[in-house]
């Protein structure tokens, strides 16, 4: 089985060699790996920018960043993290690589469109960099709120255009995935036999198609306003700046589902494998993934912007309803672990960290979702801590877990477990030291996006700085540990973890057409009876 050449040795189209075999490839696995390197690059850049923000805030007064520079740094941190890391990370890397394999297909349905998406992604990144070198990077924050984004002198148009191009890449990926899941599934695979990671990508793709165009046109309006000053969003000319916020959050709230759903899909794959137990309530997880109520809560970002009493009543209610699908998933993961025969591995460790951190993020989200307390903590560090718990503690940790879970499948090499644990603990510990003080600072009233603060906030900011340092060191060492495994010989078996989904039926790394023999579709994707039998035989030495 291992003798078949992997996709690393067999480029497609076959006539290209060397760098061209990557840049002109039509293989979903190669495109996934190209995304991996691009996304990791941007992620590490944005991590370092985040470190700069934290370093500036460690000491009162101007430390080493001027106020304008600070604004640009946090904007750049936000724009890169949102548009170049969190949104594309899981779908574009692991979705591209594993979605076709998990449904028993040999590629996505539109391989050329897939490559185009990668180029659009790269172009978006280049345009974002280009905006740095003309009039300075925008200082608006990643939300580009009007009227400031229209009146500021910095180069908002270019940055907004970068976000537009990246949105295009994300839409095309979503379109490709939906078509692939509908039309290229193995003929024996029914809808209720699809692995949960693929299900989560299906739901994500719909959210991408539903929501991204709205933000695209909104960003185009910002550009039109900047160049022609038509007044659609300018109150001096009869426009309404709050409409911008509505249009922006109509996309950007569903966008948090684009960010978190694939992460939840990853956790739903990892937990049953290492508990050796079927996932608790498969159908409930599927149902809660495709719950679209998330599209109807956008105005909970705008309680202080002014809206009607009816809206103030409806939006908190809907927001609380939206918490239920996430709670269902957390409950299902914990119930899956209950009485399982748990095998501890780095991916499982990171998944457990995910559950804890995401739960904290979710519960503090309810504080913000209720209109009353939100008035108190709106635009404070509490909000910053909340979304870092959900987006970084959630999606970020799911991304690390996915890296550790699928790394041996993608590259055929196993990394050092001991080091992986140490760096993961350093990362998680640093995370807590970094963001918990921010909750307290926020409740005490420290506003976000300010480069300086009053003396009473000094202590919390000083300690948070150390947490950030541990966290950043942990991230770099963890990524380094993964990459140092690439120097070794290929040593990973086709199924190092005891997984049941189709990617574990093929060699590591997979061959060009993904499967050597026709894959066997299990009647239920999380039936571990065969795995348990195989491992107990190994234990007895049979």
């Amino acid at each position: 089985m291992e003798a078949v050449p992997s996709f690393f040795e067999t480029p497609i189209p076959a006539k290209y060699k060397g760098i061209r075999s990557w840049l002109l490839t039509l293989d979903h696995k190669r495109i996934g790996i190209m995304y991996l390197f691009a996304v990791l690059f941007w992620f590490l850049v944005a991590v370092l920018l985040g470190g700069l923000i934290r370093l500036e805030l460690m000491f009162i007064g101007e430390t080493f960043l001027s106020a304008e520079m600070y604004n640009s740094v946090f904007t750049l941190h936000g724009v890169i993290m949102i548009f170049l890391f969190i949104i594309p990370a899981l779908p574009a890397i692991f979705g591209n690589f594993f979605l076709p394999i998990q449904i028993g297909a040999d590629d996505v349905f539109f391989p050329r469109l897939n490559l185009l998406s990668w180029y659009l992604y790269m172009a978006g990144g280049v345009i974002a960099i280009a905006s740095l070198f003309s009039n300075g990077f925008p200082d608006t924050g990643w939300t580009f709120y009007v009227p400031f984004s229209i009146s500021t002198r910095t180069n908002v148009s270019t940055a907004v255009f970068a976000a537009f191009v990246l949105g295009m890449a994300s839409m095309l990926t979503g379109l490709n995935f939906i078509t692939t899941i509908h039309r290229m599934r193995h003929k024996d695979m029914g809808w209720m036999q699809i692995p949960l990671f693929t299900w989560s990508l299906y739901a994500t793709s719909w959210a991408q198609l539903l929501a991204t165009p709205v933000v695209s046109i909104t960003l185009v309006l910002v550009i039109i306003e900047r160049y022609f000053n038509v007044g659609l969003l300018d109150p001096a000319k009869g426009g309404d700046p709050i409409l911008y916020q509505h249009l922006f959050w109509m996309y950007s709230h569903p966008a948090v589902y684009i960010m978190i759903l694939p992460g939840m899909g990853v956790i739903s794959e990892i937990i049953p494998v290492f508990a050796r137990k079927s996932i608790f309530r498969y159908k409930a997880i599927v149902g809660s993934s495709i719950a679209i109520a998330g599209s109807l809560v956008w105005a909970h970002h705008m309680y202080t912007s002014g809206m009607s009493n009816t809206a103030i009543f409806v939006f908190p209610l809907l927001t609380f309803v939206v918490a239920i699908p996430s709670a269902i998933k957390v409950f299902s993961w914990v119930s899956t672990l209950y009485k399982g025969s748990i095998q501890m591995t780095p991916p499982l460790f990171l998944s457990l960290c995910f559950i804890y951190l995401f739960s904290v993020g979710g519960l503090t989200g309810l504080v913000l979702g209720a209109a009353g307390p939100d008035i108190h903590v709106h635009d404070t560090h509490f909000v910053v801590a909340h979304f870092h718990f959900t987006m970084f503690g959630g999606t970020g940790f799911a991304f690390f877990a996915a890296l550790h879970y699928w790394w041996p499948k993608m590259f055929g090499r196993m990394y050092d477990f001991k080091k992986a644990y140490i760096w993961a603990i350093l990362l998680t510990g640093g995370f807590m030291f970094h963001y918990v003080p921010m909750f307290i600072l926020g409740l005490q009233g420290m506003p976000r996006r300010y480069f300086d603060y009053l003396p009473q906030y000094e202590k919390g900011n000083f300690y948070a700085g150390f947490g950030a340092a541990f966290m950043i060191i942990g991230i770099f060492l963890m990524v380094g540990n993964l990459f140092s495994s690439l120097r070794k010989e290929r040593n990973a078996s086709s199924d190092p973890w005891g997984g049941t989904t189709l990617e574990w039926q093929t060699p590591s790394p997979p061959p060009l057409h993904n499967f050597i023999t026709e894959p066997e579709i299990p009647s239920y994707p999380y039936d571990f009876s065969g795995v348990v039998e195989r491992y107990s035989k190994d234990d007895k030495g049979e």
Partner: protein
């Protein structure tokens, strides 16, 4: 790589793409709806200042160009190269005609003082400005999409 001669999948992909385009303009429709409900009478009044004939002509041109492209696609499927090229050529001509038409329509508007930040509009009421913002920016988007296409 195995080829995918699956027509219905290609159609599915195309429909999904068209769907995103509809939503893209949906954002503008939302804005229009909000401002229309806010300044209903003025929007109606301002609408009367526009040239209906040119507007109608534009709609016909756009619909006909869509037909031409669709006919060209069918011709390609039937391997009739000449007809396909004719269809695409006609569509490009329609695009040109659209822009020429817009030129007349807009120069008419600009003469009448309806353009962003013109003296007439700045002196006039807020809602007129808002309406003109729409009639300039919405076809402006169409034209820029057409040009980039």
């Amino acid at each position: 790589m195995s080829s995918h001669p699956d027509e219905s999948s290609k159609k599915l992909g195309m429909w999904l793409f068209l769907y995103t385009e509809i939503i893209l303009f949906g954002g503008l429709f939302v804005l229009y709806a909000v401002y229309f409900s806010r300044y209903t009478l003025d929007f109606k009044e301002a609408g009367k200042e526009l040239n209906r004939l040119l507007g109608l002509l534009n709609t016909v041109i756009l619909l006909f160009s869509s037909f031409c492209v669709a006919a060209a696609v069918t011709a390609i499927q039937k391997k009739e190269k000449g007809r396909a090229l004719a269809g695409l050529g006609a569509a490009i001509l329609c695009g040109g005609a659209f822009l020429v038409n817009k030129y007349f329509e807009w120069s008419h508007k600009i003469e009448a003082g309806i353009y962003p930040n013109s003296e007439k509009l700045v002196a006039g009421s807020l809602d007129r400005i808002c309406f003109s913002a729409f009639i300039i920016s919405s076809p402006g988007c169409t034209a820029s999409i057409l040009l980039s296409g």
